[in-house]
């Protein structure tokens, strides 16, 4: 409780500081509102655009892209990671490719994606998949390799076939690694999508990133800042709603909680 209060107090102080610097409590603003708009302006922008449906609609479009891209990234990354862990040939080829491409920020794919797919949903999805796939693949491989061999031996003696062992022993045994890979993959997917939406205007839907882009074009910094808040909020909520419960469950089962 004390910790919650402390962290609340910290953020309220930051907000008040921002308000003071932008002249909300009288006195001269330190910077022009074009450079740093005061909090109420940002608040108004968010409030109005939520009520008139512009932000919720973009949110829907963006989340749809994110979920589809992320799902494809997972559906490819987990099985491929299992294969690269199992076969040395694939580790030396595909595994190496993954290692290299993981080092490449996925926004680097934007120019090629636009040429290959045009200004379409497919271009955005491609960038998201490139952001997700490699980190998920690598952490799945890493997880598979860290499973104690005794588990597979025990399963074999109980009559488990190689495929059954892979699905019901090796995969669950590597769950903590796979989950942290999924979490990292999600963070990469979200970053990639924002970068792609800022760069690429797609007629098929006006996403959150595109709001930010037009905020810049029209010199509306209150819009830019408002959208930045929304991007942070989505990231935080995904962590709390999607990953935290799964992590808590794993920690309880494995007995790895710190508290």
């Amino acid at each position: 409780m004390k910790r919650v209060l402390l962290s609340c107090a910290f953020f309220v102080t930051l907000l008040l500081l921002w308000a003071a610097c932008t002249g909300c409590f009288g006195g001269e603003a330190l910077w022009s509102p074009f450079v740093l708009p005061p909090p109420p302006t940002v608040g108004h922008y968010l409030w109005d655009n939520t009520l008139n449906g512009a932000i919720p609609l973009s949110m829907l479009i963006t989340l749809r892209r994110l979920l589809i891209g992320y799902a494809i990234g997972l559906a490819l990354g987990v099985p491929l990671g299992m294969l690269t862990a199992r076969f040395r040939f694939l580790h030396d080829t595909l595994g190496m490719t993954a290692l290299g491409l993981q080092a490449l920020p996925s926004v680097c794919w934007v120019p090629l994606a636009c040429i290959w797919f045009g200004q379409t949903e497919a271009a955005l999805l491609f960038v998201v998949i490139m952001g997700t796939l490699w980190s998920v693949l690598l952490s799945t491989e890493n997880g598979m390799k860290s499973v104690p061999p005794i588990y597979a031996r025990a399963a074999r003696t109980m009559g488990s076939s190689p495929l059954h062992t892979l699905v019901f022993v090796t995969l669950p045994a590597s769950a903590p690694f796979v989950l942290s890979g999924m979490k990292q993959g999600w963070a990469f997917a979200w970053r990639s999508l924002m970068a792609a939406e800022i760069y690429v205007s797609v007629v098929s839907g006006f996403g959150i990133g595109q709001h930010l882009h037009y905020g810049r074009e029209l010199q509306r910094m209150y819009q830019v800042i408002g959208i930045m808040f929304i991007i942070i909020l989505v990231g935080l909520l995904a962590d709390k709603i999607l990953f935290s419960p799964a992590e808590r469950w794993l920690h309880r089962r494995w007995g790895t909680d710190k508290d």
């Binding site: 005794i150 025990a154 074999r156 109980m158 009559g159 488990s160 669950p172 089962r253 494995w254 007995g255």
Partner: protein, 268 residues
């Protein structure tokens, strides 16, 4: 359903094991290790045999060959006259480290092997699993997580897991070596009790001579470099045996001196 369940639980399969002229080498960074050299043993139905010897004498290797996890370089291992070609449900292994699955709870672990067993409904499997948890006195912990259990409790669950598919042969690879003395003594009583109740053929590997004498109806002595069977001692002490018993200590003493003799002769 009651009938299949009854049959499943009150059915006591057992088997004869024989190992004939088995050789097994391992390549290590220090050259070739002769883990087993011309090893032959016959174990009759329902016998409780303990393999004893210092590390490197090939006792665990032989257990793995019987389990079907390793193959001999030459020679054969037979179960009721049929050569062993791989792991099978007729032989279950209980390992040294607790090889329980941390992503499953206690009953989930016991169910793992049972799920591979055909001709049972899931409800029957659950009943069977509960019976074996009761047999190892762990029925109160059916839904506990593995990390919440003590070392002794974990090995009880591991025992239930390997008993549950009702194998003919139970293979135990130093199952109690990581436990404290008090817990171990309790388990000695329990395992003798279970052997009497379930009438399985048991092969028990240990480096602890007293443990072997306490449990086995026969103690087979191995010596290392190369791994060989040296001598077998029948143990005819009355059961249930107590590890602190005087006669038991005497026999252990005799076996230990025999073991020292072989090890000393080898180092000359």
């Amino acid at each position: 359903m009651q009938e299949t369940l009854h049959q499943e639980i009150h059915h006591y399969p057992t088997a004869k094991l024989s190992v004939e002229h088995v050789y097994k080498d391992f390549a290590t960074s220090n050259g070739i290790v002769h883990a087993l050299e011309d090893v032959s043993i016959t174990i009759s139905e329902g016998e409780f045999v303990c393999f004893v010897g210092p590390s490197g004498c090939g006792k665990s290797t032989l257990l793995n060959i019987i389990a079907g996890l390793d193959r001999p370089d030459s020679g054969v291992a037979l179960i009721d006259g049929t050569p062993i070609s791989g792991p099978g449900r007729d032989r279950m292994v209980m390992f040294q480290e607790h090889a329980l699955f941390p992503w499953l709870d206690v009953i989930g672990n016991v169910m793992f092997g049972l799920k591979q067993k055909p001709n049972l409904t899931d409800k029957e499997r659950l009943e069977v699993a509960k019976y074996y948890l009761y047999l190892v006195k762990m029925d109160r912990f059916a839904h506990a997580n593995i990390h919440e259990l003590s070392g002794g409790m974990r090995q009880r669950v591991a025992l239930a897991r390997s008993l549950a598919p009702n194998p003919k042969i139970l293979l135990m690879d130093e199952p109690f070596s990581a436990l404290d003395a008090m817990t171990r003594e309790q388990l000695y009583g329990d395992i003798q009790d279970i052997w009497a109740k379930r009438r399985k053929t048991i092969v028990f590997v240990t480096h602890n001579v007293r443990e072997a004498v306490c449990l086995g109806s026969r103690v087979v002595l191995f010596s290392p470099h190369p791994g060989r069977v040296r001598e077998a001692f029948p143990v005819e002490l009355p059961r249930p045996r107590n590890i602190n018993d005087h006669d038991l200590a005497d026999l252990s003493q005799r076996i230990t001196s025999a073991l020292k003799g072989y090890t000393a002769a080898e180092s000359d």
